[in-house]
């Protein structure tokens, strides 16, 4: 970006140069040709190259990815990124928390993935991805983040692969030397499946302020927050005074939410539930009819068509859930929808709409 301050002499920026070259490559972009030389030389869509696949446990691996042009390495510790991988010719998108600490001078980012029994893509990421593969990336998202400066006392409640965003936070605290009074309660089925267990033990060695409670649920059972002997009060008596971040399976988050609400301090609990926070104004909402599945639902102007369809029980296609990958595109037969990213309205019959970033404005009929 060129600066507008008058003292500065105007200089030719790399971005500006590429923009000027647009006129030579129109209707394509210079990047479309530069990728012929190096697949990372494009900021048209964020791309990355898998540099390393580091096995963490038997079923989890850390992918070290070298992002291409346009990536700013400015994710906040705790945020997640969308990653699109071509499997069987088709890009499949999922979101994963960044486990590496943000570094402006960095050249790579790391995500840690656990292969899920039902998850075709996670299985592929952990076991089938070879270094050198080009993947698509989406900018970091999410408000499950560490404030700067961090609060003096923190509690992390973690279940399984929910450790990844927390790891990014811990690494950041470690790197900045701001590791304060922290309690980490981390549940995993077995010690072998506990991702980052050695690294956390090492952090604890170097920062005595970091208390680490490991729980192996196969032998110890599930952590009951309200249990009087081994519950939250036992492992962290001052939990009510701490800012808490919880990340893990849905039921665990539901239990935490209820527990904190009961204590009347829901504000101090931060939960990670993957969803896109969209800034722009929604429409006034409307009634959605899903023609082929015969379902109907009334939603407000903050509920995307995708979310509405899912809650109505329609098998909606979805991918990145942030308007990038087009997996969720469905034909709108009639009605108007608004794009939450820019407020654009689509009011023509039989238009294709990206359901993950649009909300209904009045009644709509969808072909699904």
């Amino acid at each position: 970006m060129t600066s507008t301050t008058p003292e500065r002499r105007p200089r030719v920026s790399w971005e500006g140069l590429r923009k000027a070259a647009d006129t030579l490559t129109t209707p394509l972009l210079p990047d479309d040709y530069l990728t012929l030389l190096n697949p990372l030389w494009s900021s048209r869509e964020l791309r990355g190259r898998v540099e390393k696949v580091i096995p963490e446990t038997e079923d989890a691996a850390t992918l070290v990815i070298r992002p291409g042009w346009g990536w700013h390495y400015e994710h906040r510790p705790g945020q997640y990124v969308g990653i699109g991988v071509q499997v069987g010719g088709k890009f499949q998108w999922r979101s994963y928390s960044v486990s590496s600490a943000p570094k402006r001078s960095g050249r790579t980012l790391a995500i840690t993935v656990r292969a899920m029994p039902e998850g075709k893509l996670s299985e592929h990421l952990v076991k089938g991805l070879s270094p050198g593969t080009i993947v698509r990336l989406a900018t970091p998202q999410g408000d499950f983040v560490l404030p700067d400066p961090p609060p003096a006392r923190m509690l992390f409640l973690v279940g399984g692969s929910g450790i990844t965003p927390v790891m990014s936070m811990l690494r950041t605290l470690d790197r900045r030397g701001t590791m304060g009074d922290i309690v980490l309660h981390y549940s995993s089925t077995t010690p072998e499946r506990m991702i980052f267990r050695d690294e956390i033990a090492d952090l604890h060695e170097r920062h005595p302020g970091l208390i680490f409670h490991a729980r192996h649920t196969d032998t110890d059972g599930i952590f009951e927050l309200a249990a009087s002997d081994a519950g939250l009060d036992a492992i962290c008596p001052d939990w009510r005074e701490r800012e808490t971040w919880a990340c893990g399976p849905g039921p665990m988050l539901d239990a935490a939410e209820a527990h904190w609400e009961e204590a009347g301090i829901a504000d101090s609990l931060h939960l990670e539930r993957f969803s896109l926070s969209l800034g722009s104004d929604g429409g006034e909402g409307g009634s959605l009819s899903f023609q082929n599945s015969g379902k109907n639902i009334d939603v407000d102007g903050a509920t995307t068509v995708l979310e509405a369809g899912e809650s109505a029980g329609v098998g909606m296609p979805y991918g990145c859930r942030m308007g990038i990958c087009h997996t969720c595109t469905v034909t709108k037969i009639s009605g108007t929808v608004r794009d939450l990213r820019n407020g654009a309205e689509f009011d023509q019959p039989n238009e294709q709409v990206q359901t993950c970033v649009t909300v209904p404005v009045g009644p709509c009929v969808l072909n699904i």
Partner: protein, 403 residues
């Protein structure tokens, strides 16, 4: 003469027609299920080849400009041909097919019908409306499909003759040379503008898009690249004009062979009435013509030598049309449905004959098409048909931008 009812024309019972529809649906399902890595690799390979050809051509013209004439000549000639072929590939096998949504299944935001913009004067959005929707939905229905002569030529005996048609051989030559500009204006619906029926707001919106796109195309080919060639600007300008001409004439030729050979039939608007999906399939087969040739010829024609298969399954990947064609042909043999095909020169020969014959009134010439029944005459202009049929989804998506 035109067909008012496909069932009747093919001597098929309603049950047989439904059976044909089901068999075609099964062919579609089989291809959809088997799309995979090899198909994705195919389109990526074509795109990579095309971009290297275009880049090499542009660089060749610039780099050779200070060289000795003996070297410059051959480099310039090779660059011109390379650029022309790259434009042909981009418009036909890549652009046209991507915009039909043939590659949308890959979920690749860079090879997607909603984001693709092609290297020709017409804005992609307008193409998707005039071609994907108007032409593919209303294929060969007189008065509804604007591709029957593109509002410039009289290509069906049912279209009313006018003395202006005497100039057809000339209009045809002009259309071939300036094809990209003809296509650019196609969605405007000149006929509607002439009759003052066009919404002025919509017209301004469309014109703005066309001017912006056309200006960028001209600036690139006729100002910037010549300027980069310094003293040799003239030869680069000529080379680019030649490449555009190559693309114009070739795409014109291929497209005309799709619906104007003798075997491709026309339909009256009665056919649209309560037309089932299976009948729509039949109309596509009867209204369309293939041509034969090598694999390379087919790729360079945007796979439109498989025009019948393309019209049946506009959104299936073009590299699969050869295998689909074997099945469609067998199906047509089984039910005794005409399947029009022939060598390219024969098909184009018939096109030329139609163009010349129809420049004269019907009474002075003989019809070469097989007799099909109803004799009607249609007025000029495209009838709005949006409410006549529910839009088919396989023809490709279309969304209208705000400005």
């Amino acid at each position: 003469m035109a067909i008012a009812d496909v069932k009747e024309y093919c001597h098929l019972t309603p049950e047989e027609v439904e059976q044909i529809g089901a068999e075609l649906d099964a062919i579609r399902a089989e291809i959809e299920e088997s799309r995979g890595d090899a198909d994705a690799a195919y389109i990526n390979r074509v795109i990579t080849t095309q971009r290297w050809m275009a880049a090499a051509a542009r660089i060749g013209m610039i780099v050779s400009s200070p060289m000795d004439k003996k070297v410059r000549g051959p480099v310039l000639a090779a660059s011109t041909v390379s650029l022309g072929l790259a434009k042909i590939l981009e418009n036909m096998e890549i652009g046209h097919n991507v915009m039909h949504g043939q590659w949308d299944w890959m979920n690749d935001p860079e090879i997607h019908s909603s984001t693709w913009e092609w290297d020709t004067a017409q804005p992609a959005e307008q193409w998707k409306h005039s071609h994907n929707y108007i032409h593919h939905q209303f294929t060969n229905v007189l008065g509804y499909d604007n591709d029957i002569g593109y509002g410039v030529l009289r290509m069906a005996r049912e279209q009313k003759w006018h003395p202006v048609n005497l100039g057809q051989p000339v209009y045809n030559a002009l259309l071939a040379t300036l094809f990209q500009w003809g296509v650019a204006l196609h969605d405007l619906d000149i006929e509607a503008i002439r009759k003052l029926e066009k919404d002025p707001k919509e017209m301004r919106r469309q014109l703005k898009q066309i001017v912006k796109k056309g200006r960028n195309q001209i600036l690139k080919d006729y100002v910037l690249y010549p300027a980069l060639s310094g003293k040799q600007w003239k030869s680069t300008l000529k080379a680019n004009a030649t490449a555009n001409l190559m693309r114009n004439v070739w795409s014109y030729l291929i497209i005309f062979c799709g619906h104007f050979p003798d075997g491709a039939l026309h339909f009256t608007e009665d056919e649209l009435e309560d037309e089932t999906r299976a009948e729509w399939y039949l109309r596509q087969i009867l209204g369309t013509a293939n041509f034969e040739g090598s694999r390379l010829l087919h790729i360079m024609s945007g796979s439109l030598g498989y025009q019948i298969e393309h019209h049946l399954f506009p959104d299936l990947p073009s590299n699969r049309y050869p295998e689909i064609a074997v099945k469609v042909r067998a199906l047509c043999d089984k039910y005794d449905i005409p399947y029009t095909s022939g060598p390219l020169h024969q098909q184009y020969g018939q096109v030329l004959r139609v163009i010349h014959k129809l420049s004269l009134p019907n009474t002075m010439t003989e019809d070469d098409k097989p007799p099909t029944g109803v004799d009607i005459t249609v007025e000029h202009g495209r009838r709005k048909a949006e409410e006549r049929q529910q839009r088919r989804l396989e023809i490709g998506g279309w969304s209208r931008s705000a400005s």
